[in-house]
Symmetry: C2
Subunit: 334 residues, 2 copies
């Protein structure tokens, strides 16, 4: 009825007890006597009391929320990860704040500001392009890196990129390909680097050459994949198969390929990375390395909560497995 929000005082008055008792009834019901507890609960019902999170958190010296810092929120790749995080966090009454690193002029500075601001109890970092120096903030909250990260000592949820690359190369080699190229992600990105290194390694392990001429530079985007198609078509000694550092690039590649009259897997076999939803619906459907994105989000959330609670995070497996999903974009070379 009243415009003023109902406080713990109102409940206390209604129930005829002190605010302390109300507070305890709500947080540690076991310590308050049953009749009192019931009276308080009735008063809570009657008044429609909702705790004021700000006041509670101020007192408890925590914020009750965590930040997810992604390089580009518009990138659909993250939405599923965020969904996984959100599920875990909201079940534990934590809020999920999201922010974009790449908006202002200085991403590193933004990260530093978020860490220092005390706006959250912890932070999950998805941007593999930031400088580790930005983490050097005096009383900073726990940070989980949800991507391979230069600073190895940071608790992290990592995808086994090298293994993914090996799966791709082995699959293609198993089909009989010997000239397997790679389309890279952005040069500064740690994930992109790991996948490239994985490709190199897997090729070497198989005794296959991996010359720079079979390397096409991309930036994870569809457009860069389309560009790679033109460059691939124009190459003198072109690979019969390509491993892409991201599905999006592979998608762009496939589209551009068709437009120039070529076709996968007839003219070139294609393996992506991520298993984004569209893969299965393309034609040819895209063979790819599946990254369990929901799981990544969940793990990252668990790990962060563990760290916030003062744990070491030892109990949580940091490496998530990837797997090969074979579809129609790969076939033996003609």
């Amino acid at each position: 009825m009243n415009g003023r929000p109902v406080t713990i005082q109102d409940v206390a008055r209604e129930a005829g007890v002190s605010t302390a008792t109300v507070s305890r009834t709500l947080s540690k019901p076991s310590v308050v006597a049953k009749p009192t507890r019931q009276a308080v609960l009735r008063a809570v019902q009657k008044t429609g009391y909702q705790v004021n999170h700000l006041a509670r958190n101020l007192r408890r010296q925590r914020t009750g929320s965590v930040i997810a810092l992604a390089p580009n929120l518009a990138n659909p790749f993250f939405s599923q990860i965020l969904a996984g995080m959100s599920a875990v966090l909201s079940a534990r009454n934590y809020g999920l704040l999201i922010a974009d690193t790449q908006m202002g002029p200085d991403p590193d500075e933004r990260l530093r500001r978020y860490l220092a601001s005390g706006m959250a109890d912890g932070l999950v970092l998805f941007d593999g392009g930031l400088s580790p120096a930005a983490l050097d903030v005096p009383g900073r909250p726990p940070v989980v890196a949800a991507c391979e990260w230069l600073a190895a000592d940071l608790p992290s949820i990592r995808v086994d990129n090298a293994h993914g690359a090996a799966l791709a190369v082995d699959h293609l080699a198993g089909l009989g390909h010997r000239r397997i190229g790679h389309v890279t992600g952005p040069r500064t990105n740690v994930l992109a680097r790991a996948r490239k290194a994985g490709w190199r390694e897997a090729m070497a392990r198989r005794g296959l050459p991996a010359p720079d001429a079979w390397l096409f530079e991309g930036d994870f985007s569809m457009d860069s994949g389309a560009l790679a198609a033109e460059r691939w078509a124009a190459a003198p000694d072109r690979p019969t198969a390509l491993f892409f550092a991201s599905d999006e690039m592979a998608v762009g590649f496939l589209g551009a390929l068709r437009r120039i009259g070529a076709q996968a897997p007839r003219d070139v076999s294609v393996v992506g990375f991520d298993n984004i939803e569209v893969c299965a619906h393309l034609s040819p459907a895209l063979t790819t390395i599946r990254q369990p994105r929901t799981l990544i989000g969940e793990r990252a959330a668990f790990l962060l909560l563990e760290l916030i609670a003062g744990g070491t995070g030892e109990g949580i497996e940091g490496l998530v497995e990837v797997e090969l999903v074979v579809r129609d974009s790969t076939a033996p070379p003609v």
Copy 2:
């Protein structure tokens, strides 16, 4: 050096003034004398003081963040909208909390809880499937509906769905199609309904029949689009063109189409809705109705901030325009 975070008291002591003066220096610099101001700023620098948002917000009786409530965070459609919101909000020092309506058992109840919890100063609602009754919370914060919404009196950012449908139909009819079908979104979704109604209306305006036989039910997902392909192929008297309530369904349709040996636009013209990124990279590239998603996010954020500030939101245009993007998936019927 010290583990304890530095408070406004520390700054005051360092600068030799009262906390009140420090606070004023930081929020309303004009009211404090220049020398004092400088001394305070120097102390802030020296101590590395950061305001405690919790304390500030508790005192100011606001939370400094807003919630975006989406039906399914894993849906990439929202990520770009969120990016738009995030840009506007973070520029104004507001935080963006995100939450999923469809996770627990009772979505309406979740909405009600968020509204009552006082966790945010406002809320943007993206879920067209919730019940308006869930908004009936005593002292609830401002809510902006970022989708057409049953309760017409809610401030909202709307896309002109009917107009979008008309653009699609007119484009197809202009190419010479007379049998134009529609693949719908989920039956309970307001957006889906509006698009369907728009299709009906546009067909009627052109004097074209729009029998239920040309209507294929979907749920916005790629899978449902693929399913529509089978049903379309099996239909006795099938449309020569299809207007889809979402791009994702159109993508699924195109993939499945190829798999059954048919092809767009030769066998059927296809128009999607949304203009998701992949459209341009498919082959055939997908003709679609563009929804300016970043703009939607920005508008929603502006409107909400306006409402939070006590304004009426009159100044902000609630209807965002859509436009036809012609690509290769549409052509005259054979």
